[in-house]
Symmetry: C2
Subunit: 367 residues, 2 copies
């Protein structure tokens, strides 16, 4: 069975673009989170996600779940996406409600379909091996009727990702081995991450899920009945004010919970397909520095020009300006029209604390 | 004798505003050097210099020597200064030619007058004791017919200033002691500066000079005959194109030399008046950090707002923007419309190297 054959079955691609944009502040903002930015290349991460799956699904079978206040920009960036395929969440409630919303929507049109869930904020290279892994996973989902996830071969003791322990081999699908997912581990400490690497049977949790619509709805009904109940009853693309109000109220009441925690860690039939593509969840300015091409000073200076004296290991994002560095090391420097951030490399997780502080002070103009 | 009486004699104040503006780059530029900036307070350093001497001299007896391309801005900042009192140098040739230009100009109007030479780029507090020291120095110049300088009591082993060794006491003037200036020392090493302090008879060379016009012209004639000859023959405020051309040509040919090196270190009758005012030649961003009021993190953040996480000892100059610092220490951060400078504190002398690099690359727009 080839990738082409697999995708001929009715299957949907669901792009999850719900990020709130604190980690790439000040470039990312509430209405312009990471996946809508083009700081990673000529295309935004959302557009790259689209490009990656466009060969697999016709546009009418691609759904986008996003925040209501990002909907317009997302639509602008994906002109081929039918407007009715955008499911706008009134507020962020983590991944489980977003996935449920999409599953119910697909279920209305094609209850026999499979679906692939793809976070929009990941950097992936190796599109061919990505699509091959998806073909394997879709076939595995069809054969097992279970929940399938892609596991990325780790090449470092990363503490920023979740890990999945690969269990016994279950079967082959599309010529590749499929394993039982034995255990999900939240982001580990460095020592734990080293252990995971040493054991050799841990994979990074990519957040990419594959299942038949019936399978995920069954699992949601069992493990997250409140979400199942609430979202099963409402129309995700409201046409009227009344419908919008119902959607808002439904979301207001929902628990915010991830699909990993709410379903994957509990369900019985969870499989993992080891994936060969190069994957990075670029979740911070530190990670962004890591993936950026460096100059001879080990710096990445995205600016209108630069003069560097005795400085190294810096990231600067200051479009249009001349950046001058003198005697400094390991800094993250990010400048926008209204904000100038200077952060020690390694500390970029604390950028979130800056955003929280601004929230506390009511400085909405900077959020 | 009181200050008032002294100043009743015919005397001129000469403000030297010829700085080129590399040390406070990127805020200072070729056409907007340090003394024309208001980063130090509400008034620019040039305006503060004016304010300091305005009680001593009527406007028609204040001269300003400045660079031709800064003339307009200087005139704008000093609306009371008669336009014909601005002597514009076609190019910077250090202090000796500038002083000679002013001396000849005063000589044409009042050959019997005294003159006080004041750099425009110094921070001075204690205006009363400043004016008292000037009264003493003017009286000393009258009594001795020599060259008088103000020496500042050092309170640290500064390596950025020149030093003057105080010799034997010569006489009292205006009730204060006046000393022989025994030796001029260029900017010392740290070890040498410590020695100077330990010896107890060294003063900082303030660059403020007081003499009768006849005395400085005699000294210039003897020690810098080329400058004396050339500038004695030309009109410093040219009215015609022809006159301007003569001034340009004259300057082109002049040696660039400081009055300290060219005259003060060689002349026989050089006196020093110890001054009690608080004086700082704020010659770099490091020095600027030092004199700025600090917050509880020992930082000086001149910005539209700030959020600070685990950071200290920083200077930020970014008017209008929110500055966010995360995990950083001892940085000088300066932002303008077209440039972003991040420099380690203690390294700001190297900002000059950045400017030189830009010159080399022909990036005139940043100079």
């Amino acid at each position: 069975m080839t990738a082409g054959q697999t995708i001929d079955r009715i299957s949907y691609g669901v792009i999850m673009a719900g990020g709130s944009g604190t980690r790439f502040w000040p470039v990312s903002r509430q209405r312009l989170p990471k996946h809508l930015l083009d700081i990673f290349g000529e295309r935004t991460l959302l557009q790259e996600t689209w490009d990656r799956i466009a060969p697999l699904f016709p546009p009418e079978r691609i759904l986008l779940v996003t925040a209501a206040d990002q909907k317009e920009e997302a639509a602008r960036q994906l002109p081929l996406l039918p407007p009715e395929n955008i499911l706008a969440e009134p507020q962020g409630k983590n991944t489980a409600p977003a996935i449920a919303l999409a599953a119910f929507q697909i279920n209305r049109k094609a209850p026999e379909a499979s679906m692939v869930v793809l976070p929009a904020d990941q950097l992936i290279s190796g599109a061919e091996s990505f699509r091959k892994a998806l073909a394997t996973a879709l076939e595995a989902a069809r054969l097992s009727k279970g929940l399938v996830t892609l596991g990325v071969m780790p090449d470092a003791p990363a503490t920023g990702y979740g890990y999945i322990k690969r269990g016994r081999e279950r079967f082959e699908a599309a010529g590749e081995k499929v394993y039982q997912a034995e255990r999900f581990r939240e982001k580990p400490s460095y020592a734990e991450a080293l252990e995971c690497l040493a054991e050799g049977c841990y994979l990074w949790n990519s957040g990419i899920f594959i299942w038949e619509v019936a399978a995920i709805l069954t699992a949601l009904k069992r493990w997250l009945p409140e979400i199942y109940q609430t979202l099963g009853e409402i129309e995700p693309v409201p046409g009227t004010k009344e419908a919008q109000k119902r959607l808002n109220e439904a979301y207001e009441a929902l628990p915010a919970i991830s699909i990993d925690y709410g379903v994957m860690e509990r369900a019985d039939e969870v499989l993992v397909v080891p994936a060969g593509f190069c994957w990075q969840d670029v979740g911070s300015w530190d990670a962004y520095y890591k993936v950026s091409p460096k100059d001879q000073n080990n710096s990445a200076l995205k600016a209108g020009g630069s003069v560097v004296q005795d400085s190294q290991g810096c990231l600067a994002v200051s479009p249009g300006k001349l950046v001058a560095l003198v005697g400094v090391e390991n800094l993250l420097i990010v400048e926008t029209d209204d904000v100038l951030l200077v952060c020690r490399r390694g500390d970029s997780q604390s950028v979130r604390a800056v955003v929280e502080e601004l929230q506390k002070r009511g400085k909405r103009e900077y959020l």
